[in-house]
């Protein structure tokens, strides 16, 4: 009577087929999918451009600042950029539904802009990147962070050097 138990179990379970085109699809939480870029937290170190095996990521200098472009149509979802990014500015979402018509081929781009700013100390034009202060001791307070961020790289180094460290 083994087949009857299997039959009853299958009746109870229902079909195993995913409902996908007619319903929601099962997506794992940590699926490596489409790249997402946050310009606010980017340090501008361009390590992601270097480690990308498919050359999907490209930084370019424009009059407004530095632009970030990731073309999803050549990205192989390896996750190198996310792994090497020091500030988690670039990460992979679990969005896999990227099928599109061929006319939209070159619109499948993740775009970001790191804008130019004027240094509050010396008045030079520099990129408004996130400062590299991960190893600063003691850690920067939020006011100090915004002060560092408003400066150009040279003035940032000066600021961090002259910072009063409580004994």
């Amino acid at each position: 009577m083994n087949f009857l138990t299997i039959f009853a179990r299958n009746l109870k379970q229902g079909p195993q087929t995913e409902a996908f085109p007619f319903g929601p699809a099962f997506t794992p939480e940590r699926l490596r999918g489409r790249i997402e870029f946050k310009a606010e937290t980017c340090e501008g170190c361009r390590i992601c451009e270097r480690v990308c095996p498919a050359n999907a990521i490209r930084f370019a200098k424009t009059p407004d600042g530095m632009t970030f472009d990731c073309w999803h149509n050549t990205c192989v979802f390896c996750g190198n950029c996310e792994f090497y990014c020091p500030t988690d500015a670039i990460h992979q979402t679990n969005d896999w539904n990227l099928a599109h018509a061929n006319a939209d081929k070159f619109e499948m781009v993740e775009h970001g802009l790191i804008a130019n700013q004027t240094c509050v100390e010396c008045g030079a034009t520099a990129l408004n990147t996130a400062p590299m202060v991960k190893n600063a001791k003691p850690p920067l307070s939020s006011e100090e962070y915004s002060e560092v961020r408003a400066r150009c790289p040279k003035c940032r180094a000066k600021y961090l050097k002259n910072r009063k460290v409580p004994a």
Binding site: E18, P21, C75, H100
Partner: protein, 145 residues
């Protein structure tokens, strides 16, 4: 019910799928096989079926970056498929070349040689993404009929 007339439309004219491997690493081909053969994904719900001959095909799934060596064979196969046909590029290789881009042995992107209608990027794409691409292709195919 909106789905039932749609289902009837698909059932009356079911597109048959044909796979062309244009120098693929077999990753996308495995995913395409999974899309069709495993009951969990089951592309046959959309009325599609894989066929063995290009002469029976309606929707062509192309994987691989079109290597120099297979170019003539792929173009000949593509010519054999009767009109109207809808072409789906599966994986990043036929769309842009992926990691093989700018290689001397690869002629990607494939849309310089073959008109492509739907792109499904991924390395390889998930079976659900392939199903989404096929669903898009079926819509285009119905318009062309």
């Amino acid at each position: 019910m909106g789905l039932i007339p749609d289902f009837k439309k698909i059932a009356t004219r079911s597109p048959w799928l044909y796979r062309i491997n244009a120098g693929s690493c077999n990753g996308c081909d495995v995913e395409m096989a999974v899309t069709a053969l495993i009951p969990r994904y089951d592309v046959e719900r959309l009325g599609c079926q894989y066929c063995g001959s290009p002469k029976h095909a309606d929707i062509v799934l192309i994987s691989g970056p079109l290597t120099v060596r297979v170019k003539d064979a792929v173009l000949r196969l593509y010519e054999e498929i009767p009109e109207p046909k809808v072409t789906v590029a599966v994986g990043v290789c036929p769309i842009s070349g992926g990691i093989f881009r700018e290689s001397y042995a690869v002629l990607a992107p494939i849309d310089q040689y073959i008109p492509i209608d739907v792109n499904v990027p991924g390395c390889p794409p998930r079976p659900q993404a392939i199903i989404a691409g096929v669903a898009k292709a079926i819509e285009i195919w119905r318009e062309r009929l």
